[in-house]
């Protein structure tokens, strides 16, 4: 799956021999959000709405990404920055194939894997079981899972303060949960790995280790996307940065330049 056959004349393209892994072509993402119990909380108003055939008032459409285009290449680590609600996480989910673009298209090599702090695995199960299930769900063969599971728990560091691996994940602190999820997702070589704020949650020690892991993943010919509000960790891990603002691509270039511009704007 990781290997792809290149056309013989691939070298003749003037893209300096770089292999694209993600092509985002004029993507617009519009999603509907349920505003919860806003507007009409009584049975009568619900009935009125059905009878008069008006759309539910508590659904609103959000145009989160407005015509973003870029190409990501093999071995790149790309940071995504922008203020809250600028569409960074939405763009990642579109790349992962979890949100359909309303217009435009996202092309990817292999199956991108999205790693977010909100993506809980199975809370009632122990950390160990989560590791095994997570690895199987990523499509690893059982023998490899058995071999790699202790390494994952070791890397996540959840056992540093007693035997937490055998406790259900709902007993974990948010940092521990995020660390374990990062450890599971990064155990497999992904063609494209999408990380949403995961590095910001761990403590200093874990951050250093996970930045190291991101670099390894990138070296093994994958592409890494990193969404973070911590400009520091973007500067440390990414050489290219994309700046989104209100769903529009504001700037795309070397991390140094983009981050400087982003910080000066504030």
């Amino acid at each position: 799956m990781a290997e792809q056959t290149l056309p013989v004349n691939a070298g003749t393209v003037t893209d300096s021999g770089r292999v694209p892994t993600v092509v985002v072509d004029d993507v617009h993402v519009i999603y509907r959000i349920h505003k919860g119990a806003a507007g009409g909380t009584t049975p009568v108003s619900a009935l009125k709405r059905i009878v008069s055939r008006t759309k539910a008032p508590n659904i609103r459409e959000v145009h989160a990404v407005k015509g973003v285009s870029f190409t990501a290449y093999e071995g790149e680590a790309i940071g995504l920055i922008g203020s809250n609600g600028s569409g960074k996480s939405t763009l990642l989910r579109a790349i992962a194939g979890l949100l359909p673009p309303a217009r435009g298209a996202v092309y990817t090599q292999g199956q991108p894997s999205l790693l977010g702090v909100n993506a809980a695995l199975l809370n009632d199960l122990s950390g160990e079981r989560n590791v095994v299930l997570g690895c199987l769900a990523m499509g690893m063969p059982p023998e490899e899972v058995k071999r790699i599971a202790p390494e994952i728990i070791e890397f996540s560091g959840i056992n540093e303060r007693g035997d937490f691996a055998s406790l259900p994940m709902r007993t974990y602190s948010s940092g521990m949960g995020a660390r374990l999820r990062f450890a599971i997702s990064s155990a497999k070589k992904h063609d494209v790995l999408l990380i949403d704020e995961a590095l910001a949650t761990g403590d200093r020690k874990f951050r250093v280790r996970s930045e190291q892991r991101v670099r390894e993943l990138r070296d093994s010919a994958g592409t890494v996307f990193l969404v973070s509000h911590s400009i520091g960790s973007i500067r440390d891990t990414c050489e290219r940065t994309i700046w989104l603002e209100s769903g529009v691509l504001r700037m795309d270039g070397p991390t140094q330049e983009v981050c400087d511009a982003y910080e000066n704007q504030k």
Binding site: T14, D25, Y31, L98, Q109, L122, A137
Partner: protein, 300 residues
């Protein structure tokens, strides 16, 4: 579809052409049916591990733990026996009412839980769905596998009940595994249909208890199946003969209960034909229906 007017500045190709040249695929694209089935098969280890983990965790916070796997079906049977056997006195018309009732209850609960738990197979696993990409059909299949493990426990209890109430062991007992196989295939298809419906219509979860209770009364679990013929117009009775849970329950009774032979709702060959029919229709239909919605799961 895509706006291909934007050219890649370095290569002079449009973005879509660039993607095509390097064999990139559209993100979140649904694979063809055969490919989907092949991928699903590759996830069989995940499905078995997940269902085992679910069974282990489901009762982990109770005092009696896994003992409930036996106690739950027994309690269920006891409640129905109290109401329909003792209070409404249905037992007078059935030769071995306790075994008759327990067979019906256990077999029906297998299909019932596959349907109700299937409804939340997608909505209850959003964390997993949004984190990892795998064929989503693995989730409703896991639901059925969990129920299958509980059913096998119930079958041990049932065998004891059947023997204790004086039924002989016959060669027909060997018909039970193929019958359960047919019902399992049917349930997998059913929970796939319910999973897709439940992921779209959240209201379904509120309706399911009533649907299932109606279905229970229509499936000849709690009263003698002969009553169907006596009290319903003949066209309604003929329709009810096709009712899948009734078919599977009668097949199980045919296999286990010697005393029930004279009172079967239809002839055994007809029951087998209907059982195979439902397993194929629901198994294949449910799988195709679920596959067609593959792109939608976990969104919104």
């Amino acid at each position: 579809m895509a706006n291909t007017a934007v050219a890649d500045p370095e290569s002079g190709l449009t973005r879509a052409q660039l993607a095509g040249r390097y064999g990139l695929r559209v993100a979140g694209e649904r694979p063809p049916l055969g490919e989907y089935a092949r991928r699903l098969w590759a996830y069989r280890h995940f499905m078995t591990a997940y269902s085992r983990a679910k069974v282990a965790s489901s009762l982990s916070n109770t005092q009696l733990g896994q003992l409930w796997q036996v106690l739950t079906p027994l309690t269920n049977a006891a409640v129905y026996f109290l109401i329909f056997g003792l209070i409404l006195a249905q037992h007078r018309n059935v030769n071995n009412f306790i075994a008759y009732l327990c067979t019906g209850v256990f077999i029906f609960i297998f299909t019932q839980t596959a349907a109700t738990n299937g409804t939340s197979a997608i909505t209850g696993n959003l964390g997993l769905i949004r984190a990892l990409q795998f064929p989503r059909a693995a989730l409703p299949i896991t639901v059925t596998l969990v129920q299958l493990q509980q059913l096998l426990m119930s079958m041990v209890v049932l065998a004891a009940i059947v023997l204790l109430t004086g039924e002989p062991v016959t060669f027909r007992w060997l018909l039970l595994p193929p019958m359960l196989l047919l019902q399992t295939i049917f349930n997998v298809g059913l929970s796939m249909v319910m999973a897709r419906l439940g992921s779209k219509v959240a209201d379904l979860k509120q309706i399911m208890p009533f649907v299932m209770r109606t279905w229970l009364y229509a499936s000849g679990v709690l009263y003698p199946v002969a009553l169907l013929r006596e009290h319903l117009p003949s066209w309604a009775a003929s329709i009810l003969e096709w009712n899948p849970p009734l078919v599977f329950i009668e097949l199980a009774r045919y296999a286990l209960l010697d005393s029930h032979q004279p009172n079967m709702v239809s002839s055994p060959p007809k029951l087998w034909a209907l059982g195979v029919f439902w397993a194929v229709v629901m198994g294949v239909g449910g799988f195709v229906y679920f596959w067609r919605g593959e792109k939608e799961y976990g969104r919104g």
